[in-house]
């Protein structure tokens, strides 16, 4: 266990919905709120809260067009967000690949 580097796991991205939002936006130039709702299978309220959290962290840019009930929110990932996601994914992969030999070694011992 001591070989794990927990520091590489970004707690902000270690949440299912926030991770889904970030990955979807990382593959696109921009997406609106309804598209994110569909792709993440999240409720509007929950999605709105998580988008605000990511926006406050500087990972997303949200622009609103129009006003009233027809207003549309368009989300974009920022460079900081892209780098954070990349580091998070690399960290996960490193954890995963570092752990496998340990398990195999134990199996061999048995």
């Amino acid at each position: 266990m001591s070989s794990f580097k927990f520091a590489v796991i970004n707690p902000l991205l270690h949440n299912e919905l926030r991770l889904k939002i970030m990955v979807a936006l990382d593959s696109l130039e921009s997406a609106n709120f309804m598209y994110l709702c569909e792709i993440t299978d999240a409720t509007r309220g929950n999605l709105s809260v998580q988008i605000t959290t990511l926006k406050d962290a500087g990972y997303l840019e949200v622009s609103k067009s129009g006003s009233g009930p027809t207003a549309r929110s368009v989300c974009r990932i920022t460079r900081k967000g892209h780098e954070a996601l990349l580091a998070y994914e690399q960290g996960l992969r490193r954890l995963f690949t570092e752990r496998v030999p340990e398990v195999e070694t134990k199996k061999d011992c048995i």
């Binding site: 889904k20 979807a24 609106n32 398990v103």
Partner: protein, 198 residues
Amino acid sequence: MQRNTMRELDIINEIRGKVVSRREHTGTKLFLVFGYITLFMFMAEFLALELWNTNLCTWLWLCILIVGMPLMGYHVRKDFNRTGRRTPDEYLALQLWLFVGGASAMCGLTTGFAGVYEQCYCLIQGLLLGMGCFLTGAISSFRTMVVCGIIGALLSFACLFFQGVLWPWQLLIMALVTIITLVIPGHACRRYINKEKI
């Protein structure tokens, strides 16, 4: 911990797969809208020059911008509202065609005011259309567009053979270049999308 790591990686792969599988091709309408407007304008310019022989007809190209730009804005917004997202490829292609449109307008104004419209406008316009079509094909990995772009750019050099009193024939070559670089790729792309839907 390892199981959790696996789950997070699964989420990443699942969402990436979902985004790719929901990709819808947009922008073909723009090719057709601009293609037919440009084709109509070049034909109208040629006919007007043949019938009335006045240089004022050469400013007809401005109609491409006046009619095309609002239509382009409308279609881009409509596509975004329908699909809810814009891919990096689409964004890049849009910026490219905005550059081609801007460069064409600058070229038309400069050659018009400098009095060299007859000599080089059609050649530069043809090269710009060919370049736009070629690069869009390269970005979207659509071979028909790449081939059409190269043919269109090469064909525009034929304008150099029609100088002096023969210059209105350059407009007919440009009409052909428009068909090759905008109309044919637009229809080919539409056919490809319809096939994919089936």
